[in-house]
Amino acid sequence: MPHAAFTQEQEFMTSSTNDKGTTTPARWMRLLPAMAVAAAAAGCASVPNPTPEDPWESYNRGMFQFNDTVDKALLKPIATGYRQLTPEPARTCIHNIFNNLGDAWSAINSFLQGRGHDGINMLGRVLFNSTMGLGGCIDVASMNGAKRISTDFGVTLGVWGLDAGPYVVLPFLGSSTVRDTAASASTLAAGVSSYTPIMEIDNVPVRNSILGLAAVDLRASLLDADDLVNRIALDRYSFIRDAYLQRRKAQVRGSHVDSDAPYGAAGSLPDYSSDDLPDYSDDDDAPTGAPAAGAPAAGTPSTAQ
């Protein structure tokens, strides 16, 4: 049984590395042994009740472990050191500049999703922060109470109707789904992503330094969330997986963005009565208040006016 799972995972990994191989084949090939070891280790773990969205749980847990090891040994210490050594204003500035690039990408994707209202808001945020905010250094838009509606090409594919597919933990990059992996790989290969402006830099050492800084900044910005997960998760793997999947669904649904979807009757509310609870209704407080919560996602992926 572990062997069958192993081959399946190997096939998946091989095909996905081929996608990415178009950019840096050599580097990805070098990763293969490490991934094979992780996958083999994963093959030993047995998962009694796999979650429907996570059929590759045993492989994923292995990769999660691998990422965690790399993180503990390398990324987290660097990010912690960066946070301790860099004065807060400088760190905030750097963080905001990278976020500004991400916001531009979000704006484009909002338009691709047909969410023109979000797109204009995000475009306004980018223009405002790029000028008044000195190239994104100061997040003046947020100071004005403007919300960030972050989205990406994976969400766009979801809005276009593509199913997320199984959950998958990528080496080094962490949580993803088949759809989101395909989205990142294709945008990276096509040379359009939030990192495009950095990739355009001709001076390779400068470009690579900036990419490295982006990675450190990203990891540093997650230090607090990481601590929180350690404090509240019973099982880090499940917690992160379920949070990732919920968050991605919310982004595709656009519910926290779309103020037009009424609550109470909205399909965006989780319906805790819907799973196999035949006699739930005779409970002392039957879930009378969430009548339509089981209704199929209200069918309106929100084109906010």
């Binding site: 009740n49 997040d139 004005n144 403007a146 404090r231 926290h256 509310l269 989780p270 208040g289």
Partner: protein, 215 residues
């Protein structure tokens, strides 16, 4: 575009003046905790509970430094009385709730309480002196007894965080039973973890695991 641009500029000025006013208010230190009316309109109820908690956090130097023990204590004092712990735990346990004996149910609620406090604290840990809670316009049926109040919590560094509260009307008035931070519902996020623990080690195993975390 030019419209949204000037709107931003206008909002900035308004925001700056609001900051100054807020600063004055804090300097005066004349804020008193408001009495919470659990039978008020849901938006007002959340606004009062949230404002009281925010104010308590802002007035406590240890909490502002990020002292988690202190933040947990304040959350326990200002938020937990309005949370229906039993319902949160019951829904997180799902169908396993009925398999538990009344004693196990009681123990489970008690064991989960610590996690819930830490979760609510997590949602409030970024509070600084400029933080404020904005309740978004209520949508849906105001007469429903199970509804969602949406809010947005602003902070100094970074955009406002969307936090939604799911409420239920009880004989004692409104009670919060679920929390959503940026699209992630609390109960939803614990269902698989609970099921996993119960499948492996039974309900007592889950209670033990939760208590382990509380240490």
């Amino acid at each position: 575009m030019s419209f949204s641009f000037s709107a931003y500029a206008f909002a900035l000025i308004r925001r700056l003046s609001a900051c100054c006013l807020l600063g004055l208010g804090l300097a005066a230190g004349a804020h008193a905790q408001q009495a919470v009316d659990a039978n008020a309109a849901p938006n007002d109820f959340i606004k009062t509970v949230g404002d009281n908690a925010l104010q308590a956090l802002k007035q406590e130097p240890a909490a502002k430094r990020g002292d988690l023990g202190k933040i947990n204590e304040l959350v326990n004092q200002y938020v937990l009385p309005y949370v229906n712990l039993e319902k949160t735990t019951r829904l997180a346990a799902g169908r396993y709730w009925r398999q538990a004996t009344p004693q196990q149910q009681k123990d489970l609620v008690q064991a989960f309480k610590g996690t819930l406090i830490r979760t609510y604290s997590g949602a409030l840990s970024k509070v600084d002196e400029v933080s404020s809670l904005t309740i978004l316009p209520f949508r849906g049926d105001p007469n429903a007894d199970d509804l969602v109040v949406r809010s947005s919590l602003s902070q100094r560094n970074g955009p406002a965080v969307g936090v939604d509260y799911r409420l239920e009307k009880s004989p004692q008035g409104w009670k919060i039973y679920d929390l959503n931070v940026e699209g992630i519902w609390l109960i939803q996020n614990y269902r698989n973890q609970f099921a996993q623990q119960i499948n492996q080690n039974g309900i007592d195993g889950l209670i033990n695991a939760l208590n382990q975390q509380n240490k």
